[in-house]
């Protein structure tokens, strides 16, 4: 297990790639974007980037909103 900050909250998650984490959260990788330690992680490389202790991840998607 590694301890990460996911969308602002500390969480214990299984070690592995970011793609593994996204899948374990039940999210469709095609509909989200991931930022790790304030850097965008391109979708094509999500499976190659391993989670490290203390990583700050933001996983975002589109929601309704105007101005």
């Amino acid at each position: 297990m590694v301890s990460i900050i996911l969308n602002g909250d500390e969480r214990q998650v299984r070690s592995g790639s970011i793609a593994d984490l996204v899948a374990s959260l039940g999210l469709d990788v095609k509909k989200v974007a991931v930022e790790r330690n304030r850097e965008i992680v391109p979708r094509s490389t999500l499976a190659d980037v391993a989670l490290a202790e203390g990583d700050a991840l933001e996983i975002v998607h589109f929601v309704g909103g105007g101005c």
Partner: protein
């Protein structure tokens, strides 16, 4: 005769852009978008709810393959947050046409123009095509254009206020000075406000609350579609001059 407008090389026949916030549910939102005839919707970027994965998603109701998604930076109060949000948006959806707004304060939601200009420059350098929410100031509009804005989007009145176009003169000055499209963004309350924006020569209008907070949002969406079309036609047809006194429409000759 089709009337279309283009932004950054992309052409659209509808001059109405609608938001996707404040609706009762996604069904109502989708019905309003359909009734509005809009080909572009603006959407926000937010954290995924990692504890409730069954929550429905906007993309399940409004198909990004049929309707152009225009990611926005609503809620961002500095250039860094706005840029970061749009980088994520580009990764999530692949879209480089974006709506930049950097707000100055919560009370008025007026833009912070210093941060807005800075963000516009950075985004343009990174290959984004920013359509930019701004004050109704013709000088600021030119500065944004020089910084790489692909469209100028002055407010007609504060976001969500429904007060209508408060300063027609400045909106018109922006239209006359701009070489990129000008769209009124924010302040429209009802159909006549949208028509006024179009009669001033704007290329389009963006609105959210005026439709979403109407008692019948789908009907208001249709009203806005018609108002934008009517205002555009009125602008193109060249309105009559204004006189201070009456001028009869029937001939004076042949009166009994």
């Amino acid at each position: 005769m089709t009337d279309q407008w283009s932004v950054a090389g992309r052409s659209f026949t509808s001059r109405l852009i609608v938001g996707t916030g404040k609706y009762k549910d996604f069904e109502q939102n989708a019905a309003a978008v359909a009734a509005s005839g809009a080909q572009i919707v603006t959407v926000a970027v937010r954290r995924v709810n990692v504890s409730d994965r069954t929550a429905p998603m906007l993309t399940d109701y409004i198909d990004p393959k049929k309707i152009t998604y225009l990611p926005n930076t609503a809620g961002c109060f500095n250039a860094d947050d706005a840029i970061r949000t749009l980088r994520l948006a580009r990764e999530a959806g692949g879209w480089d046409l974006v709506k930049l707004e950097v707000l100055g304060e919560a009370k008025t939601l007026y833009p912070n123009m210093r941060e807005t200009l800075e963000a516009t420059e950075v985004l343009a350098k990174e290959g984004f095509l920013p359509m930019v929410y701004c004050v109704d100031d013709p000088i600021a509009a030119k500065q944004l254009e020089d910084a790489g804005a692909v469209a100028i989007m002055p407010l007609g009145a504060p976001i969500g206020s429904g007060l209508g176009i408060q300063n027609r003169v400045t909106i018109r000055l922006i239209v006359e000075g701009a070489s990129v499209p000008v769209l009124v963004d924010a302040g429209v309350g009802t159909a006549s406000d949208a028509a006024v924006a179009m009669e001033l020569g704007c290329d389009g209008v963006l609105m959210n609350t005026a439709i979403a907070e109407a008692k019948d949002p789908v009907r208001m969406a249709r009203a806005m579609k018609l108002a934008v079309e009517a205002g555009r036609d009125a602008y193109l047809s060249g309105r009559m001059g204004q006189r201070r006194y009456a001028d009869p429409s029937s001939p004076l000759a042949g009166l009994i």
